[in-house]
Amino acid sequence: MREDFGDLHEIEQQAEREAAAAQTPEALEEVRVRYLGRQGLVTQAFRRLGTAAPEERPRLGQALNALRAAVSSALASRADALARDAREARLAAERLDVTLPGRPLAVGRRHVLTRTMEEIGEIFRGLGFQIVEGPEVEHDHDNFERLNIPPYHPARDAQDSFYLGGGWLLRTHTTVVDVHVLDAHRPPVRALSYGHCYRRDPVDASHSPMFHQVDGFMVDEGVRFSDLKGVLIHFARMFFGPDTRTRFVPSYFPFTEPSAEMAISCVICGGRGCAVCKRSGWLEILGCGMFHPRVLEMAGIDPQRYTAFAFGMGVERPAMLKHRIDDIRLFFENDLRFLRQV
């Protein structure tokens, strides 16, 4: 009777050996068929269970179930191992030279002067300035007379203009936008504008017939020169860094009184003196002052009741300082290698 079932332990060990020896999924399948298939050794043993003595059947059934479980488990773990090997072999074959260079996508960028103007605009917007714009073609009257610069005034020498006829010209400064805002709004107003300006300067490393300016002003009751200083120092620290020092010295603009020029501690040498700051440690970046009473009067604003501060600066110079650009012509040459760097 025992012979009929053979040595179950022997069968289990043999099945485990054969499963472990299978090197491919196909060979493993053959092992499965040999033991668990319809004619497999384990299956046949179950079929003979009915011939066993009734009192033997429960024990024998238990033993057979254990055998089937053990064989199945041996097959399954070998199948896992084979699958893992296959996956590893595949991944090994997929190895790439990870040091090959990347394949670039085009990365776009806004122009450094655009970003500079918008950055300046954002700083002042945070101080309650509205950011506005004006036309590039202006009338001589607005561009000069409204800013207290009469014809043939020596101050016009520095602002030689391109004329179009009929008194129209290409604006020489964005300060003229202040005039339009003053005309259109009543105090309190804080406004800032930026954009192209034009002067009839021959082209060199620091002059271009077209350049960019930012101009801003604030008009209200009780606006003081000290407010101008406070606001502009805030700007200088936001734009050039928190350690920036500033210096205000007297200057002259026909449309401001008092007039000042703001210099910042040299961003190249930190104020010790270098070629860029001409050994002075200071860089002049901005003209400013309190609006001349005539400018307010011409806009119909009573200068006894209201005072205003105003300031203006070129955009190229701060951008050149921040990005260490040494020639203004680079801004307008549009060499992609330049545009992508800054």
Binding site: A106, H111, F124, V132, L164, G165, R224, F225, S259
Partner: protein, 724 residues
């Protein structure tokens, strides 16, 4: 203004002041130092003098500022001592009658016909002079100050001008006809040969000094050739005058002349200076050359210029500056500046005549702050009502446009608005021309951004950069007539050429920019501005710079808002472009208006100058509204239609959309094929339709019905044959 320090030291004691310390402190009072130069064994300061400070165009004027800065007295020049200084600074008594009694008056007559243009004219006569070279010390000083020595007489006039700020002119007395000078307006058609040899055509707005026969000097600007000092000159007629600044400024600019004299007169000289200058010149000519100066001078002063009186309220100064400067301090500063200041509450301030720039209370407030020190003004933040920090909608839209394009891989370029007139004309319309261009290359305003961008492609290509994707946002201009304000429009240009993706083993034909690359960029741009329903069609009027078969117009409603296409190969070749170039020209002005919901752009509308925005201006960039995610699955169906090759794809898509109805969520073209088995003259367009209902899962029956509708529509309306 070039200031030799050894000259300056004659007026103010600088013995214990190092040059560096002086250079550091001068900007604090408004005298910027442009350069510090060693000349021989002296140091010369190159000062930047602002146009409002003519007084500082002299050693004396600079010395006054330095003395004030150092808190030291101003002293007499040379050996003249305190007495000499008093004479110099206080001047001599002037009186027309004085001339009549004394020597010079018998030898020269002076008449002023235009007292507005010439309020004061002082003449003197010097005899017994031998024309020769000046002593070397004087030549050195002149050269250090930037003036070329000429001869002893001319050098003395220049020396006095540099020292005191009062320009003078020397005539050869014998060559002045009748020894009579008249100050008058030039006559129409009158000409004058000036010292530089040029013959100047004058007009009635210009002032001249004339003898009985003709103009002999361009007043306040440049002397005339006919009365020039020559080696034979023995008697000299010296003039020192006060001129109306705008008259001199206008004449100098009209004639394009700029001299040391005109620079001072157009800014405004001291009306009290002419006799002082005459006295100083006389002193130098007699002591250096033994010349005989005829006693007295002819001083014609028809319109006395009185010192200006200004009312100054100390409290106004405090409220403008933001700092309370003690009243005593204010008075001290004003007196140090040469003013008198009196009064109990408001101060009555009398301004010295050498400061013509001080005319208003604000001018005095500036002077007080300047001397008190700008650095002593505190830092404050503005008080009062806050104002909202808002950005004008157009500028917000500009930023959105730029960022969208940058995200599409384009780099922003910035080209000059100024261009060649032919280029501007070729690009369209009537260009606005400059009256006074610097070069022909910059003589017109651009009418389109595209020529500039093509130039950028060419510049980069010439530098072996063949893959270029750029855009520019800026204004373009159209003339409305030679005397009228040009139309100014916001525009956008796009130019792409070559690969938009680089790297190894990336097949070039798959990554070269093409027409549909530009089309996608435009779609992205319009989408970012909330536009939909744009139509694309071949241009109504083809233009020569576009490839004749590869150009299109994009319109929204009635308005063409953009054009795009391939640059004509002839143009590409002319610019030596290494690849085909694709361009787009976008009318941002129109787009912004449509987007702002106004949509009132009439064709050829003036595109009025951008105005300062009111706070209430409507936004241009939509906020973007969340429409929810779908709750029910979609169904996709592919459809291939063989249609006549000349039927625009846009038309096929239109038919699909119209016939599919509202459940069509998207239609995507995924294949365009010509060649067998598609019959000649036809092409196969393959579309994927995505259908979805917002409120339920679609059932097979309704999907088939929609697809059948589309197929029928394509058959009947597009003449399509449908493949299964």
């Amino acid at each position: 203004m070039r200031v030799p320090l050894e000259w300056l030291r004659e007026f103010v004691d600088l013995a214990d002041v190092p040059v560096d310390a002086l250079v550091d402190r001068l900007p604090g009072v408004g005298l910027g130092v442009e350069a510090v130069e060693r000349v021989g064994d002296d140091t010369v300061l190159e000062l930047e003098v602002t146009p409002n400070r003519p007084d500082c165009l002299s050693i004396l004027g600079v010395a006054r500022e330095v003395a004030l800065l150092l808190g030291r007295p101003l002293r007499a020049p040379g050996d003249a001592g305190a007495r000499g200084l008093r004479r110099l600074t206080r001047g001599v008594e002037h009186s027309a009658a004085a001339g009549a009694r004394l020597g010079a008056a018998q030898r020269v007559a002076v008449r002023i016909e235009d007292p507005g243009g010439c309020p004061r004219f002082v003449a003197s006569v010097i005899e017994g002079i031998w024309i020769g070279a000046s002593p070397s010390w004087m030549q050195r000083r002149l050269e250090a100050a930037g003036v070329r020595p000429i001869n002893n007489v001319v050098d003395v006039t220049n020396y006095v001008m540099l020292e005191l700020g009062q320009p003078m002119h020397a005539f050869d007395y014998e060559r002045v006809s009748d020894h009579a000078l008249t100050v008058r307006r030039a006559r129409p058609g009158e000409a004058l040969e000036t010292l530089d040899g040029a013959v100047r055509a004058l007009d009635e707005t210009m002032l001249v000094v004339a003898d009985e026969e003709r103009a002999i000097s361009l007043a306040g600007i440049l002397g005339g050739r006919s009365t020039e000092i020559t080696p034979d000159t023995t008697t000299v007629l010296l003039d020192a005058a006060h001129w109306d600044p705008p008259t001199i400024g206008r004449t100098a600019r009209r004639l394009g002349i700029r001299t040391e004299a005109s620079a001072r007169f157009e800014r405004g000289t001291d009306p009290e200076a002419p006799p002082q200058a005459q006295a100083r010149a006389a002193e130098l000519l007699t002591t250096l050359y033994g010349a005989r100066v005829l006693r007295g001078m002819v001083d014609v002063y028809p319109r006395r210029i009185a010192p200006r009186v200004i009312r100054l309220r100390p409290e106004r100064a405090a409220s403008v500056l933001g700092i309370e400067i003690p009243r005593d301090e204010i008075v001290r500063i004003l007196r140090a500046l040469g003013c008198t200041a009196e009064g109990a509450r408001a101060l009555t301030v009398r301004v010295p005549t050498h400061r013509p720039d001080l005319t208003l209370e604000e001018d005095l407030i500036e002077e007080i702050a300047r001397i008190y020190g700008y650095d002593r003004v505190p830092l404050t933040l503005p008080r009062g009502d806050t104002t909202p920090g808002i950005t004008s909608p157009s500028l917000v839209a500009d930023r959105e446009v730029r960022e969208t394009l940058a995200r599409c891989g384009l780099v922003e370029a910035l080209t000059l608005t100024l261009t060649r007139p032919e280029t501007a004309a070729e690009a369209g319309g009537r260009p606005a021309l400059l009256r006074n261009p610097l070069t022909r290359d910059h003589a017109a305003l651009r009418t389109s951004l595209l020529p500039g961008l093509i130039e950028v492609l060419a510049t980069n290509a010439a530098r072996r950069i063949g893959n270029v994707q750029i855009f520019e946002l800026g204004r373009i201009f159209q003339s409305r007539g030679p005397e009228d304000r040009p139309e100014e429009r916001r525009s956008l240009g796009i130019a792409v050429m070559g690969r938009w993706r680089a790297g190894w083993n990336v097949p070039e034909e798959q990554v070269l920019a093409d027409l549909f690359h530009v089309r996608w960029i435009l779609d992205a741009l319009l989408g970012s501005l909330g536009m939909e329903g744009q139509r694309v069609a071949p241009p109504a009027t083809p233009q020569p710079w576009w490839h004749p078969g590869r150009a299109a117009e994009v319109s929204i409603g009635e308005h063409v808002v953009a054009r795009f296409g391939e640059l004509h190969p002839d143009y590409a070749q002319r610019h030596r472009l290494p690849h085909r170039a694709y361009l787009a020209d976008v009318d941002l002005e129109a787009l912004y208006r449509i987007s702002a919901g106004r949509g009132r752009v009439a064709p050829g509308s003036p595109g009025a100058a951008p105005e300062a925005p009111a706070a209430a201006a409507p936004p241009i960039v939509p906020a973007g509204t969340y429409a929810g995610l779908p709750h029910f699955p979609d169904v996709e169906r592919d459809l291939a239609a063989v249609v006549p090759a000349d039927l625009p794809a846009a038309r096929v898509e239109e038919i699909i959309r119209a016939s599919a109805g509202p459940l069509l969520e998207a239609v995507e073209l995924f294949d365009v094929y010509t060649g067998p088995p598609v019959p000649p003259g036809h092409r196969n367009l393959a579309y994927r339709l995505r259908l979805r209902a917002p409120d339920r899962t679609l059932v097979a029956g309704e999907v088939e019905e929609i697809v059948e509708n589309v197929r029928n529509a394509l058959r009947t309306r597009a003449g399509a044959q449908l493949r299964v």
